[in-house]
Amino acid sequence: MDLKDFFHMGGYAQYVWSAYGLSALVLLWNWWAARRSEAEALTAAKRRNELARERVT
């Protein structure tokens, strides 16, 4: 299969590539959102720990 045929997808190019592109976008969004959710919780928890320590000393 040459590269032109590959991108042409037998006339279904717009459908096949938009479906794969959208899947990549949603997976990337999940990757970003999950990382951000964890990082935010970690920052907040560390901050709570610091505040608690300041109160003790």
């Binding site: 037998g10 279904y12 096949v16 959710s37 928890a45 720990n49």
Partner: protein, 242 residues
């Protein structure tokens, strides 16, 4: 056996284990998804009826499968949390919801893109499509319900009931293509008979599903670590963990 279980369910322990597992899930899923995409797009033979258009299968079916799988995981976790009052189980259910919602959206969107050239329409209100749309609303409703409580314990209990009631929709989605007339094709893999799809087409599909499962494992580990931190108000163990 129960001491082992309690250790595993203790937040600091779970936090650490999830942190160790996540990178393995992540890299393995990346490798499998890329392999399956190449295989499905370039190597698998074209369909005799749908030509190259059928290649959408490799992103549509795995996301549809995951949309239901994640919901069942979420409902089981919510049920365990409700019956045995395990906070970690509620946290796991909460971590599942946004991931499941995104897979459901993806299943609907890629299905719509597939439907246009094959059925001549983006959308029909038939049983399969409507019940899958209902699944998306169940996920969104679950998240909205959680967000509406200030008290996390009340949010856990109320949303767990919703998750459990909604699980009835999962078999409805699966069997909708047999119970009602629909444009959607019937199951070709998940049936008791031999799969009615060629092995050369089936292999990349299974690789993609395995990749999506591992991807879910990665995402839920990351989100569950966040949930654990949010729930542990006095996380003194965090000093050693981070």
């Amino acid at each position: 056996m129960w001491t082992w279980f309690h250790k595993l369910a203790s937040p600091p322990h779970a936090y650490r284990i999830l942190g160790l597992l996540a990178p393995w899930f992540g890299w393995a899923s990346l490798a499998l998804i890329l392999l399956a995409a190449w295989w499905g797009l370039a190597k698998a033979p074209a369909d005799y009826q749908q030509g190259d258009g059928f290649r959408i299968l490799y992103v549509h079916a795995p996301s549809a499968w995951m949309s239901m799988f994640v919901y069942v995981v979420m409902a089981v976790a919510a049920g365990v949390g409700l019956v045995w009052r395990i906070k970690l189980a509620h946290a796991a259910a909460a971590a599942c919801a946004p991931i499941g919602a995104s897979f459901t959206f993806l299943a609907l969107a890629t299905g719509s893109i597939w439907g246009k050239p094959m059925w001549g329409t983006w959308w029909v209100w038939d049983a399969r499509l409507t019940s899958e749309l209902l699944l998306l609303f169940l996920y969104l409703g679950y998240m909205a319900l959680r967000a509406s409580f200030d008290d996390p314990q009340r949010a856990d209990r109320a949303s767990a009931v919703l998750a459990l009631v909604g699980v009835i929709n999962v078999p409805i989605i699966h069997y909708s293509v047999d119970w009602w007339t629909t444009l959607h094709q019937p199951a070709s893999v998940t049936k008791f008979d031999k799969p009615s799809i060629q092995l050369a087409m089936l292999i990349p599909l299974f690789i993609m599903i395995a990749g999506y499962q591992l991807y879910f494992g990665w995402a839920v580990s990351r989100r569950l670590r966040g949930e654990i931190l949010r729930r542990e108000r006095n996380a003194n163990w965090l000093k050693e963990a981070s």
